[in-house]
Each structure stands twice: as structure tokens, then as C-alpha cells.
Amino acid sequence: MSAVVHAPARPRSRLRGLVLIAVLAVLVIAAALWSLSVGAVPIPTQTIINTLFNLDGEQQTYIIMKSRLPRMVLALLAGAALALSGAIIQAVIRNPLASPNIIGINSGAALFALVLVLVFPDIPQVWMPLAACIGGLVAAAFVMVVAHYRNLSAIHLALIGVAVGFVFEAGVDYLLIVSNDSESSAPMIWLTGSLWGRTWAHVAVSWLPLVVLSAVALLLSYRLDLIALGEATATGIGLNVPRQRLLLLLVATLLASVSVAVVGVMGFIGLMAPHIARRLVGGSHRLMLPVAALVGMLLVVLADGIGRAIAPPIEVSAGILAALIGAPFFIYIMLTTTSEQDS
């Protein structure tokens, strides 16, 4: 372009990335502690710290240990899982609009989990994530097979995903209407992305898969960089693209599905957290994935806490609040990011 040669801009140093991760981690911990204190029964932070170290009275201990702590743990796990899932899907499909929602995973997982709850009400909690995973995989597999078979572009894939998502959502709505009794109100709340009534049982069935899958996602971060270069370039530098794409989408699908099983549909996290992270540290996934996970944790924990703090004892779903808090910020980011998608 211009003949004037500019001095190289200063690099985004690795140090800056690490400092950012540390700051985010502190924010997540602070938000988590705060979320333990708010709700129908406000509990001072000092009491919470005492409780966590087993130093305090029984009522507070009961509320914290039985009600708020498992919620907080689930909020952290699900926030990280949804953010990682979204980041993987955005890299693989190479579409900034992509998220677990867009390729139908969330709705598929929700439908299968709901069928399990309604049709087999006596079945133990353990099976919820499994049913959700099957649903998520069915939806993702359908979208992928169609896209692969017709050799479709990223835009077509996203459109088919949206359509598949609507079909599964219609199934969810139908089930909620036909089973119109007191039993269905609980699934209804859960489906809006709420942590209401979550217990240690939910933590027990989901923590191991979510931790393992998140670790796998972080290990695969460099491959995400490569696959984001597109099939042709990635093949040229030695990536077995079809196989890696399948592996990465499998990890992303399972992450989102298990989250849906325990915290319901929080579609916005998977779209927003990766964008915020990319804006903060750039597109290299080795740094971007951990930052996205922390942003996801922060968003869900804050949303859950604020949802309880607004008008106790009534609760607003974390999914709804996450969208409410995140959307303005997200729009701000989109408006201030120079368009890099063209060409």
C-alpha cells in the first residue's frame, strides 16, 4: 500500500496474556464468593469464608453447603464448558455467528433430557447428561452429515443448524404443553438456563465429564489455530482436516450437551465469551481458550448471583440475565472491532 515503512507495532506479549488470565481468575473468585452471599437469605462474606472453612453456625452452613455452593460450582463448570464449546465451533465452522445453539446442539440436548425427565420421571439424575449428550450428538451429527454430504459452505451449515434447532425446540415446546401439570414447571425453569434447585447430585453427575472435556479442549487449542486456516491451508501444513474436525466437534458437542443437562439452555454464553476473549487476547487459541473459559465462568456466576439479588426470594434465570448483561457489551465489542471478515 503506502511506501512509508512503519516501525513494527509492539507485540501482544505473553506476559500481558498471563496478567489478564490472573486478573480474570481473581474476578471469577470474587464473583463466586459474592454469589454465595446473595439470595433469599443474605449471608455476609465473612460468614461464607468461615463456613467454607467449617467455622460457622448451622443455618448458614446449611444454605451455603446444600444450596448455594453446588450452584456456584455448576455455574463455573457450565460457564467454562459453554465458552470452550463455542470457541471450538467458531474456529471449526469459521463463522463468527456460530455457537452450540446455532448448530442445534443445545436444543437437541434439551429435547432428549426433557424426554427422559417426562417419560421416565423416576430415573436417577445420572442419566440426564447422557441423554443430553445423545440429543446433542444427534442434532450435531444430522447437521454435519447433511453439510458433508452436500459439501456445504459455512453459511449453509449454520442455516441448516438453525433449522434443526427450531425442530428440536418445537419438540421441547410440544412436550411442555402436553405434559401440562405441576411436574413440568420444574423442567420449564431449568430449560430457561436456570441454576434454581441444583444440588450436589447435579455436580456429581457432571463435574468429571466437564473437567475432562475442558482439559481435552485446552490440549487441542493449537489444532484449533490450524483448522481455523480453512481446509486447504490446514491440509497443506499436514492436518488431517476431516478427522480433526470430527474430533473437535465431538468435544464441543459433549461440552455443550452436558452443560445443558445440568443448567439448561444458556445459548448466549457460547457465542459471546469467545468473542470477548478474542478481543482481549487475539485469535491464538492457546491463550484465547483459557481466557474464554474464564469469561464464561464470570458471566454465568454473575448472572446467577444477580438473578438472586434483584428481587429475593424470586429468582431470574441466569440464562436470561447472562443475555441481558452480555448483549450490550457484545454489541459494543462488535461495533468497535474493525471488520476482519471481508475478503
Binding site: 500500500m1 515503512v5 512503519h6 516501525a7 513494527p8 507495532a9 509492539r10 507485540p11 501482544r12 469459521r94 463468527p96 459439501n151 490440549l219 487441542l220 493449537y222 489444532r223 489455530d225 490450524l226 481455523a228 486456516l229 480453512g230 481446509e231 486447504a232 491451508t233 491440509t235 497443506g236 501444513i237 499436514g238 492436518l239 488431517n240 478474542r278 487475539g282 485469535g283 491464538s284 492457546r286 474493525t338 476482519e340 471478515q341 475478503s343
Partner: protein, 256 residues
């Protein structure tokens, strides 16, 4: 030491084959340029050698290495392949992009060795990108982007480099810059295989031309031997005259 293509037939899906029964030997140390009219199969042939397209029949070897049977990573240590208008990644700097060229030499985690850093530095210097090193690739001009991708292929440190229409969408100055870079690669002891549209450029920058027509190779050899009015008429259906380029002495085609 060469790339040996034997009996390769390839096409997309269940459609008719685009290239049929291709036999081709790419000798080391030369710049081989594939030319031919639109749809003649030159890009398809390059994609097949680059493992983007699985051939229906035939074998491809590069220095005794079976390109189709070996692990993609292993092949990528021998052949670098740059597609036509590659995807520009979001929020990735020039240095990061060039670093990806080292992927076939690295483990799953992509940790850099001193050798990786050295080769990335060399590739950035050779393509004149030092000033743009920390700029996002998406913010570069078309010519600069093309140089960044070529630098990535350079960092891959392979004996063979394949480029699919690297000059498309560039203005003439950037076209020349890019092709000079290809000659530089050759000077550095690499063998390159390039698909080009412009016959005069192909004749000027190639040691050897391979002319394709309707999925087959119809001529190959030195530019002065290959580019004749008869060939252009047969292959492109164009009535023309061929004269020597006043600067390089290589053949130039002008329509009659």
C-alpha cells in the same frame, strides 16, 4: 529425486473426472508452471498432489515418499501446498501465521524449538515482512497477505512448494513481486510447482511449462519450445502471434 505422478484420475463427487490418467514428473531444482484454459484441470491436479482431493486412480510419490498413503504431517514435511485465495484467519498476526508453517515439525501442542524460531525469522526476512511482523494478517493489503502466506510455506522448510494461482487478485506490481519471490525460492534450492493464468508470466518465470487441456497434459517443456501459435490455437482456440519479450526474450502471446 522428484515428484512422480502416475496414472492419476481425479474429480469431484460422482461427477465426470476433471483430470484423466495424468503422468507427470517434476524434476527438482526447477520452477514448473502449469497453464491452460479455465477448467482444464490444472488446479485440480495441484489439489490432488496437495492431498486436498483424493484421486480415483493413480499414485503420487515425492522422493520415494508415497504421498497418498503416508500421514499428512509427514507429507507436509516434504511438500508445502498453498491454496488459491487462502482463508484469512481472524486476529492472527503475521508472525503467528508464519509460525503455523512449522506445524508439521511440531507436536500436538505446537511448542517452538530454537530451530522453529530461526526458520520463522528467516521466512519473514526473505519475504520482506519484518515491519509487518506483529500486524494482524487481516489488516494487510492483498500483496502483503500473499507474501505472508508464502512466508508460511517457506517456514515449512520443504523441498517442494506448490502455489495455486498466487497472483490472482493482485495488481501487476504485486504480481511481479510474488513471482520474483518464487524465483527466490528456486535460488534457495527449492523446487516449486505453480499454477498461473498468464502465459507471458508463466513463460518468463518458469523453467518448464506444463500445458493442460480438457483434463490432460498436451505439452511440456521449455517455454520457448512450448509456447507456439499452433499450441495456443489448439488449446485456447485463439488465433495469435508469438513474439519475444523485449526484456527477457521469453515468448509473449498477442491475439491476431
Amino acid at each position: 529425486m522428484s515428484i512422480l505422478v502416475k496414472g492419476v484420475t481425479a474429480g469431484y463427487g460422482r461427477d465426470r473426472a476433471i483430470v484423466e490418467n495424468i503422468d507427470l514428473t517434476i524434476a527438482t531444482g526447477e520452477v514448473t508452471i502449469l497453464i491452460g484454459p479455465n477448467g482444464c484441470g490444472k488446479s485440480t491436479l495441484l489439489k490432488t498432489i496437495g492431498r486436498l482431493l483424493k484421486p480415483r486412480t493413480g499414485t503420487i510419490h515425492a522422493d520415494e515418499l508415497d504421498v497418498l498413503r503416508n500421514h499428512p504431517k509427514r507429507v507436509a514435511r516434504t511438500i508445502a501446498y498453498l491454496p488459491q485465495s487462502p482463508v484469512v484467519p481472524t486476529a492472527i498476526t503475521v508472525e503467528q501465521l508464519v509460525g503455523y508453517g512449522r506445524a508439521p515439525h511440531q507436536s500436538l501442542l505446537g511448542l517452538r524449538s530454537p530451530r522453529d524460531i530461526e526458520l520463522v525469522d528467516q521466512a519473514i526476512a526473505a519475504t520482506g515482512l519484518a515491519e509487518l511482523r506483529f500486524k494482524p494478517v487481516a489488516e494487510l493489503s492483498g500483496g502483503q497477505r500473499q507474501r505472508a502466506f508464502i512466508a508460511m510455506a517457506l517456514a515449512q522448510d520443504t523441498p517442494y512448494v506448490m502455489l495455486d494461482e498466487p497472483t490472482t487478485f493482485l495488481d501487476i506490481k504485486h504480481q511481479v513481486e510474488t513471482l520474483d519471490l518464487v524465483r527466490q525460492l528456486h535460488g534457495a534450492g527449492r523446487t516449486s510447482i505453480v499454477v498461473l493464468h498468464d502465459i507471458a508470466q508463466a513463460a518468463r518465470y518458469g523453467d518448464r511449462l506444463v500445458v493442460m487441456h480438457e483434463g490432460r497434459i498436451v505439452a511440456e517443456g521449455k517455454p520457448t519450445d512450448v509456447v507456439t501459435p499452433e499450441l495456443i490455437r489448439n488449446v485456447y482456440g485463439l488465433d495469435c502471434e508469438v513474439y519475444a519479450d523485449p526484456v527477457s526474450g521469453t515468448p509473449v502471446v498477442t491475439p491476431r
